[in-house]
Every structure is written in C-alpha cells, then in structure tokens.
Symmetry: none
Subunit: 422 residues, 2 copies
Amino acid sequence: MKISTLSIGDELICGQVTDTNAGTIASLLLVEGVRVQRHITVGDNEPDIIGALSELGRVSDAVIVTGGLGPTADDVTSLAAARATGRRLVINEDARAHVRRMSGKLNNLIVSPLNDKQAMIPAKSALIPNPTGTACGFQLMQNGCHMFFMPGVPSEMIVMLRETVLPFILERVPLKRVIRSISLNLFGPCEAEVDELLRGIAQPEQGLTLGICVTFPWMKVTLRSEADNADAVAGLLQPAAETVRERLKEYCFSTGDVSMDDTVAELFLTSSLTLSLAESCSGGLIAKRITDVPGSSRYFSEGAVTYSNEAKIRLLGVPAELLNTHGAVSSECASAMAEGIRLASGSNLGLAVTGIAGPDGGSEEKPVGTVFISLAAPDGCRTKRFRFGGSRDEVRTLTAWTAIDWLRRYLLKQDILFNVNN
Amino acid sequence: MKISTLSIGDELICGQVTDTNAGTIASLLLVEGVRVQRHITVGDNEPDIIGALSELGRVSDAVIVTGGLGPTADDVTSLAAARATGRRLVINEDARAHVRRMSGKLNNLIVSPLNDKQAMIPAKSALIPNPTGTACGFQLMQNGCHMFFMPGVPSEMIVMLRETVLPFILERVPLKRVIRSISLNLFGPCEAEVDELLRGIAQPEQGLTLGICVTFPWMKVTLRSEADNADAVAGLLQPAAETVRERLKEYCFSTGDVSMDDTVAELFLTSSLTLSLAESCSGGLIAKRITDVPGSSRYFSEGAVTYSNEAKIRLLGVPAELLNTHGAVSSECASAMAEGIRLASGSNLGLAVTGIAGPDGGSEEKPVGTVFISLAAPDGCRTKRFRFGGSRDEVRTLTAWTAIDWLRRYLLKQDILFNVNN
C-alpha cells in the first residue's frame, strides 16, 4: 500500500513554522509496519493544493492531508479538495452541530457564523470525528485512492489519526511486513562513545538496523528489525537489545517513550522518599520538571528558587560568612543549600544547584558554565563541580538533566559522581 | 520564478528526524522576496528520488535538493540525480581532492576508499563548494530547470546555500518583487475573535495578506505585503500595521521574534521594580520562564514552589486556619501567598498562583483547571479565579502565560482583570 502525506499551510511552506505532523504520521505508521513513501508541503493556495492532491492521488493508495481546515478565509483545503475531486462543497449537518457545540464549549461565546464554514465538506465524504477541537475532518475515495483530511493542530490531528485514520488504513494493508523496534534512552555519554560501545551490533543484511538520534542533551538508540513474521523479528531483536542494554549500563535511563522525568517519578513513588529543591542558576527549571509529572505532590514538598544571596540566607540558612568567603557559586554553598532545604523542609532528600548560566557573570576561576550540584541525603551529602558548555539555555538544561539524573542514580543506588561528557 | 525544495532521507520520511532544511531555505528565500511553492520529502530510495525530481523539474524553474550525499551505501542522491537527468556518474577531480583534504582534517584518519564515492557527480554538473564538510554539492540544468544538490547536514547546507545557491538564483529572478512582513504576537483572545477584529484589513488583490498562526497558547498575526518596490510595499504595510495594532490593543505583547518573557524582562528593567514568586500548581514554571532571560537577577529575587500546605505556612506565612477554612486552592490562599512572598522577600511585587492542574484532584466546586492568580503590589492586591481547559500541561502553560501577562499589563498600567478566552 503506497501512502503519502500532504501538509498544507503558508506558515509551513514559508518556513515560519516547522511541520511535525508528517513525522508523527510516518512514525505511527512505521510502528505498524507501513512506510510513508512521499511527503509534500504546499501553502494555503488552491491551485497548489489541487496540484499536490492530483499528483499524490495518482501515485498513492492513500493520502493523509493535514492543515487548512480552520474557520478563517485563508484556510482553503476543503474547497481545494472539492475542486480536485470534482465535487461540490456541501454543508454537513453533523459537522455543523459539532462545530457549534465545540465553539461554545471552547469560547463561552455566541457562535460566529464564520464557524459554519468548518461544516462545509466535499459531497460524498465521510466525517472524521475530532473529539478535541472544532474542525471535523473528512475522508473520500477518488480514483481508487483514499484521501483523509485532518486539521493541522497536532494535538487534534493525532487523536483523529489514532481513532479513525490508522484503523481504516491498517485494515486494508495486504501482506504486512512485521517491523518492530526497541528504543533505549541515554544520558551522559557523547555520540562517538556510544557509537564505539555499540559497534558490531547492527546486521543490516539480516534486517537488523541500529540508529542513534541525538536530541540535546540526551540520545535515543533505536534497534529496528524487519521480517516476514513476528517470531523472526523477535529472534533478531531481543538478543540485540540485551547486548545494547549490557553495554550501555547506567547511561540508559528508560526505554521507549518514557522520559527521564517519568522514570524518576516512578522511582520516587516506589521508594517513598520525599524531595525538596534549592535552585539558583536553574531558576525553577528542576521544580518545573519534577512537577510536570502528575502525582508529584506525593513526594515533592517544596522548592526554593534562591536567586539572591538574601534568599539563600533566609530560606536555606546558608551562613552569610560562607557566602562572603566562598561565594554563591561554590561547593560549600551548594552543600549548604542542599543541607539547608533538607533540614527546613523535613524532606528525605535535598537537591541543590548553584552556578553561572551566563552569558555574563563568569570569571577566570569560575567561567560561565561552572555549576555545583549537591544532594543531601540521610547517608550524607555529595557535591560535585561541573563545567557545562553552550548557551545560557544549554547550561541550564544540562544542569537540570544532570541533577535529575543524580536523583535517578541515587534511587537506584548507582554511582553518582560519574562523568558527564556533554 | 517557481522554486521547489526536495529533502531526501530515510530518517526524514520515517519521522525519526524532523526536517529543518526546507524551512531554512524557504525563509531565507522569502526575505529576498522569493517564495517556495512546493516541498517534497522522500526516503533514500532511487525510484522515489527520480520520481520527485522529475515531477518537481516539470513544474519548477529551480529545485533545491538536500540530503543523501554521504559516503555510505544508503546515500543514493547522486546516482538518482544522474539517472533522472539521463547522465553518467563521473569522478570529479576537484571534488576528490576536496573530499580527501576534508576527510583527513575531520577524522585524522587514513582516507577510506568509501570517500571517493562522494567525488562521483553527474556529468555536466558544476560543483557547489562545501567549506565546512566533506560532501561537495553540485548543480545542473535539465529541461530549463536549475537543480541544486546539497548535503543534508544543516550547518553545512546553510553555508553552501548562502554562498552559492542563493546568489545564483537571485541573479536570475526576473523582476524581483519586494516582500516585507510585520508580525504581531497576541495573548488572550481566541482565533475567531481575532479574525473578527481584523476583518477587512487584508487586501489580497493589492498584495496585502494577513495570516493568523496559533501556537498554543498565543498567536502570531502576520501582515505581508508584496509589490514591485520598497515604497509601494511600505505604503501598503505601514497603515495596515497601525490599524491592526489599534484593533488588537492590549492583546499584543510584542512584534517579530520578541517573546512574552523578553517583553516582561524589558519592562522590569526599565521600571526598576523587583519581583518574587509563590507557585503552587505551576510548580516552578513561572520562575523558570522569568529566569530564562539573561539579566533577570536584576529584578527577580526569589521564588517559592510551595506544593505542600506546610511550605505555604512556613515560607509564605499563609495562616493554617485560612487553609483549613478555604482550602489551598482559593482566592483567599492566592492573595495570602502573594502578600506573603512580597512581605518575606521585600520585593515590590509578589505574584502567586494556586490551582488544580490535574489530571486528579478536582471536585464539583473546584474542577480540574481551576486556578487563582494573585498579584500583590504597593497599590494593593488583585486576585482572580480562572477556569482553564485542557491537559495538566496545558493548564500549567495557561497559568504561567496568564500570570506573566498580568506582570506585563501591570507594568504597562493596563487592565489586568480582563478575560482570557483560551
């Protein structure tokens, strides 16, 4: 089955916004063993959309289209779809009812007549329900090609894709090849090191490939195996995954789509330890990430974002003399912050960071990127100096990742004071 | 001049990596008044590349291709380009010398014979120099269409684009049109409301278009004008931009690429007021955003992420009785938090949020999404109840955006207690 995607939007073709829908669709299909063959992007322009639909309709069995279904005049996908397939645009009563219901719900406003535009779809199309937004999608069949039209808002699109489009397509795929993949997520080593560690594992001629995808500051290693049946795929994939896991050891913080933050949350929930934070250079980023996870209130008590010295003294009990002698960016201050927040909050663990995120504030002795991380626990306090490279944003990101990875390693009783090569 | 782009790579068509090259090329061309009309992505697959090149060659005056020029066997762009244009692949001595020089430099290794593959380009092509990597690009002319081939590594591609491809194309654009745009960034109204407010401003037949791009939870309105000369463009654009600005009023927080956080930072720096934060449901997200901006230490003193009631009592002085009577998610608690952090820190402004981000913890009286925001200032304390829709992540995002927008409005002496329709 030949599948193509078409993304529609002036903001996409102009390069103002990067399209992620095509990639989302392709990866969800790939998991099911189906590959997208061609992708096109065009602007909100009727002739260009008609041209792309005709071209893709000619070479594909299914075309998945996103974008251009909004209420405003610049969105012309429905009209172009009707013209490209020689249909009239007709009002769909189910779509109208849906649009009215959703607009009311989302805006608490009287429904504007504009919204009726979103209920106009090409004749002889079936609606694709949109449980989370106003714009319904629609699907139609033209010269043997299934065409699916969905709004471009990623969160709405993905629900419609999962609930309606994917099941429809997968039911019609003949002789599916089995493709399975296992992803392991790493933090710590550099790409060359991982490449070296994983040498010899891929066997492309057997259908076993290995890819490393670097998404600063972490990495995803994906093992992918393709064969005629599930047993053959598993026979290739499982032993290879074991080897990868053994070689990567503690660098691997999770598999699949499980984030570092989810991993740490899970570990806290099973440990029944509690946590408080004292952040200087990361400015709340660590607290934000900890509390991103639902249920974090069960182990997270409080965080102090102590940007000023006064706040370090008052909230964390860091001695003013210590700040005078060693400065706020020092091993001594980091330890005092960690011990201080642990004591004040009564939590089991106190995690603190202090450093110079830049772009200003560095010195020869303590250049930009100098960061101290400290973890105060019932069995003592560990503190380490780091020198992170990159922009302010990158230094803060690396600080938060390393600090949260310390929590993971502590809860797993692993070595904390290892080297980060980023 | 009709221009298309083609991105080649298995990792792109599979959705493993998001292509940014097409967007980079489109935006750099647009600045020069040239639009990309169509974009295609295909995998590293000879027939697919040949198909895309033939199709784009037929409808375009220039095709800019990226990807698939690497040394390994899976990269087949040069071969496909040769086949698509009926040429042989020949070794190019300049390319060979370049590849050998660069491989030595980059790897400190003996040059592998693999690299000679990168010196094979279609006959009758001109090299596109690559100052920063091994893979040279090449350009050729086929049936009146200029085709440019560059490696997919963004940092290498952009240098080659700027130094060779763009000048070549711009020299050949007949009667270059001048395109200029102005973007205004909004927070608060829903898309239908903005559409209503801006009705009648676009005059597409005169070359003045207006686009609304929703990037949750804010929006970008872009006015774009196109004409034969700069004066005509300015004559269309300036008055329209004035009108847009008047109609959008306080919703508009910045223009161009200036973020909400940058706007607020700038306002704090000129106001010489200081700020402290008390966050419950946003869990540090507001502090994180405030401290994302370099120089924030000049006005930001401290933040308290008070997840537990104990922390609200100890750090913010919220009376235990108040928590018992009204609960932590209440107007009374939000005000006490804002006043409390203002008093404790000695800052001019104390901003506090408390609410239920979900997915659990809601009740009939206070459903998930109920959030109280409070701003304590020298002239009194304002507190308001909100009901935000969406996931935990969306509730937290809307909370932080609304709270930070309150700071902007306060510093600009604007109305704070307006309605957010998101």
